[in-house]
């Protein structure tokens, strides 16, 4: 278990009619590490995550998570296996408070019946309290206390992204997929997100797959980097190697440049 990859993508291909979003992509993700997937816009990164999450069904290839096949499984089955995702376009309920959004994410941990839910007593009470305690732990971890009761729609963009990440963490996942968590942020906000990502890795032993455009951040914090371009994997390895790879440089810049 320790040596074999936690997530194994083999020869994955995804086509929409004549468009090949992904062609024969293979990569593996080691448990407890930060693995980044980078590449120019349109390279297929989000499509890759969508295949892992189960929103798209790959046309060929396999995705194995801890030995279980994900291709063909439905999104809720995949999330039950311990895969959580923070979306690039925030997928929170903007009319609800931060607390309600996070409590909602715990719905998979509630198994009281409709009739039991009418009265706050017994099993209903116990489970609600347990879930609230867990959610408060996440709020504490992501430093969202001042925003607990705030309506999500009124929050600043940077805070909403943090809530989005908190929502994914509320599922207590083994694998966390982060889709461009730093998009649209200034330096200070980016540093905060990086700090949270490092804390998640250090304290929750969560495996992280990160899609990100800020190459400085990617090279600094990743244990492993994969590069996609035009739906194909063009490089993969430790950050320093990938940075020097001429194919990668060409895909991004088109020229020789020192990174």
């Amino acid at each position: 278990m320790a040596t074999s990859a936690q997530l194994d993508v083999k020869n994955l291909s995804l086509s929409f009619g004549g468009l090949n979003a992904l062609s024969n992509v293979s990569l593996s993700v080691e448990p407890g590490l930060i693995t980044s997937v980078i590449g120019p816009n349109g390279a297929g990164k989000t499509s890759l995550l969508n295949c892992i999450s189960g929103f798209y069904r790959a046309t060929e290839g396999s995705i194995q998570f801890e030995g279980k096949e994900l291709v063909g499984a439905s999104p809720h089955q995949i999330s039950k296996l311990g895969v959580a995702r923070a979306f690039q376009n925030i997928e929170l309920f903007s009319g609800l408070s931060v607390l309600d959004n996070l409590m909602l994410a715990r719905h998979t941990h509630l198994d009281y019946s409709f009739w039991q839910s009418l009265v706050f007593y017994g099993r209903t009470q116990r489970q609600e309290i347990d879930n609230r305690a867990f959610v408060e732990g996440i709020i504490d971890f992501m430093e969202l206390e001042p925003y607990r009761k705030a309506v999500v729609g009124e929050l600043a963009y940077g805070i909403r992204k943090r809530v989005e990440m908190a929502r994914a963490l509320t599922l207590d996942p083994k694998l966390l997929l982060l889709d461009e968590p730093m998009a649209g942020m200034n330096l200070g906000e980016k540093e905060d997100i990086v700090r949270f990502i490092m804390d998640i890795k250090a304290e929750r032993d969560t495996t992280i797959v990160l899609i990100e455009h800020d190459l400085g951040v990617v090279m600094d914090i990743s244990d492993h980097v994969y590069v996609l371009d035009f739906g194909q994997r063009i490089a993969g390895g430790p950050p320093q190697e990938v940075a020097k790879d001429p194919a990668v440089i060409e895909a991004y810049v088109g020229d020789e440049v020192t990174v």
């Binding site: 732990g137 709020i139 206390e145 804390d199 250090a202 304290e203």
Partner: protein, 655 residues
């Protein structure tokens, strides 16, 4: 259950002895609350005494001996006072370090005090100490309260968690069950128990040595004037390193059974205060000015009808406050109007802020402008000034109910003697005067004058027997013509404007008075956005032409209220906010006028050279992570109308 009421006999006890007495008398009464993970968790006096017991025995296991120093570097958490009491129980001495301190400040205090143990709240605070551990040969252990991020640190023997400390104590307690009580019994009320660093508006901070009697006598004196009931709530959010918070957060609860509530974090403090609705509150002027600004911003966004109603009712409140502050009954018409205003505005407003149950609110640490005073009194809040120095245990003078005057700082507390020196300096003698400065005996001698402590403030006693403070003896300024004025008085008037966050006035031995002003980024930012004025950084906003016009009109309004010699002739809007991290302010928010004057000397020179209407500035900023950025800009010098130079003054400077 027998209740422990405050009485003089308690003044003969040490703080830990008083803790045990209270824990025995009412073990299940709530002592403190902390908001953690969203809910308020209570600790009773019995539970507090137990934690202190184990912490003390834990410290003993680590080799802490009487006279050793134990430092606390944290935000306001219950473990702070508990660690203090634990150290004091062993005859050790506690010293508080402001949580906002930078590494050099931390190093200075730990080195100066030779602390053997530090309680550092979390990884951030721990790292400040770790960075300089090689320069602290006395340091044996760093104890942390928040385990987050500390997993890897535990491999090093230097670190120990709070739980670990308590476990050590439990082990020792099993072996020697009487040991704790024996140590506590040995304490004497005149033993030094705490070192409190003075705010140091000039030079390096030094620590005043305070005894148990210092704390308890001043806490008791306060209770005699403003009685506190057992179970009254208090929210502790001002830095626990500050002496007044020490008295309010440690001495007063032990004496009276007041409950101390600790908010979840600095950012949530005002929200959490709302949930508690305290009976007593203490704030530095910045806190009160901040609340004022908040209200102002909200009202600015309100419908015109609401704004009109607000203005009219606030006016009623102000008029009523004139009577109430003097303890005089209201005339019938005003009384009815006030009752209506209270029902329609003041009550809900105070409820929104969490101030509804306040019996008394105190302001201290620096002078609060009279306009701010009247604002809160007008709202029906019993806001009063307290005055004192770290060296006199923080508060020696308090305004009495019904004798509140925005220009005074109150009467001496029972047991306090006041005297004014020939030079006009305020001298205080009381049981709260500390035992000297740690390792600086000679410097303390200079501060004493026949048993009285020299405050360093110039002042006088008015006809009513209230003390009036003009300004620091060193800061009272005289213009070139010899007219006396108080820069702080002018600064407070300027700061009453919601658009002005900070002001530093100059003019000593100069032909006219000038100022360096910080605009308030929140209120001015909003003002600019409302008018479609775009801006990028604070520096950009501060030099904007429209903003200059705005502040000019604010300054002109202030000038109208000033005596001729005090009127501001020229001023600049600084391109950066004055900050404690840059040593421009003290940790309690007081401006270091001399330091700022030196740092921005080219601006100061331009203020006094009429040839310049702008100053070219090249500045370097340091971000918190150590990165530097360069800024180059032109700072405009602004001249308000209504200022008069070369005018002789017929009346003296206003107090």
């Amino acid at each position: 259950m027998s209740r422990l009421t405050p009485n003089e006999a308690l003044l003969e006890l040490t703080l830990p002895q008083l803790l045990l007495k209270r824990a025995r008398a009412a073990p299940n009464a709530v002592a403190l609350r902390q908001k953690d993970l969203g809910i308020w968790r209570e600790l009773s006096w019995g539970e507090v005494a137990e934690q202190v017991r184990y912490a003390a025995l834990g410290l003993l296991s680590l080799g802490v001996a009487p006279g050793d120093k134990v430092a606390v570097l944290a935000d306001n958490i219950p473990e702070w006072p508990m660690m203090e009491l634990a150290a004091q129980a062993l005859g050790a001495v506690s010293i508080g370090v402001y949580a906002s301190s930078v590494r050099d400040e931390v190093k200075y205090l730990l080195e100066y005090s030779e602390a053997v143990v530090v309680l550092a709240e979390d990884q951030e605070q721990v790292d400040k100490v770790v960075d300089v551990r090689d320069e602290l040969p006395h340091l044996k252990k760093i104890i942390f309260e928040d385990p987050r991020g500390m997993r890897s640190y535990l491999e090093d023997n230097l670190f120990l968690s709070w739980e670990g400390l308590l476990e050590l104590g439990q082990t020792l307690s099993k072996k020697e069950p009487e040991l704790f009580e024996q140590h506590v019994a040995q304490g004497q009320p005149d033993d030094v128990c705490h070192l409190s660093a003075t705010s140091g508006t000039t030079g390096r901070p030094k620590a005043a040595m305070l005894s148990h009697r210092n704390y308890l006598s001043m806490g008791y004196a306060l209770h005699q004037v403003d009685p506190i009931a057992e179970g009254d709530d208090y929210v502790s959010f001002l830095p626990f390193a500050w002496i007044v918070e020490q008295v309010f957060g440690l001495a007063v609860p032990l004496l009276t059974g007041m409950v101390v509530n600790f908010p979840e974090s600095g950012e949530t403090a005002m929200e959490d205060l709302k949930e508690i609705g305290p009976h007593m509150m203490l704030g530095a002027p910045r806190v009160w000015e901040g609340v004022q600004s908040q209200i102002w911003v909200k009202m600015d966004e309100a419908y015109p009808v609401n704004r009109w109603i607000y203005k009219r009712l606030m006016e009623v409140g102000r008029r009523a406050a004139e009577y109430r502050m003097r303890g005089k009954p209201l005339p019938l018409g005003l009384n009815l109007a006030y009752r209506f205003a209270h029902f329609a505005l003041f009550r809900p407003l105070k409820d929104q802020l969490g101030f509804l149950r306040l019996k008394r609110a105190y302001t201290g640490g620096a002078a609060l402008g009279p306009d701010s005073f009247k604002f809160f009194q007008g709202m029906g809040m019993n806001l009063k000034q307290v005055y004192g120095q770290t060296e006199t245990s923080g508060l020696a003078y308090v305004q009495r109910d019904g004798e509140i005057n925005p220009d005074t700082v109150g009467k001496p507390l029972p047991g306090v003697e006041v005297s004014i020196s020939e030079a006009g300096e305020v001298l205080t003698k009381c049981d709260g005067v500390c035992h000297g400065y740690y390792k600086r005996e000679d410097e303390f001698e200079e501060e004493l004058s026949e048993g009285y402590f020299r405050s360093g403030d110039a002042g006088y006693l008015n006809d009513g027997g209230d003390l009036v403070i003009i300004d620091r003896v060193g800061d009272v300024m005289h213009t070139q013509e010899g007219q006396m004025f108080s820069p702080q008085f002018i600064e407070n008037k300027l700061k009453f404007s919601p658009f002005i966050k900070e002001a530093v006035v100059y003019g000593d031995a100069k032909p006219y008075v000038t100022a360096m002003i910080n605009i308030d980024p929140l209120t001015v930012g909003k003002w600019a956005e409302d008018r479609g004025i775009s801006y990028t950084t604070y520096a950009d906003l501060s030099q904007n032409e429209e903003v200059s016009k705005l502040i000019l009109s604010e300054v002109e309004a202030v000038n109208k209220d000033l005596q001729a010699a005090e009127k501001l002739e020229r001023f600049v809007l600084l391109y950066k906010l004055l900050d404690a991290d840059d040593e421009e302010l003290t940790r309690t928010g007081k401006v270091r006028r001399g330091f700022v004057g030196n740092r921005y000397d080219d601006i100061l020179n331009a203020l006094y050279d009429r040839n310049f209407d702008k100053v070219h500035v090249r500045a370097e900023f340091k971000y918190q992570d150590g990165q530097t950025a360069n800024l180059e800009t032109d700072v405009r010098v602004l001249e308000p109308r209504g200022a008069k130079t070369n005018e002789t003054v017929t009346s003296g400077g206003k107090a």
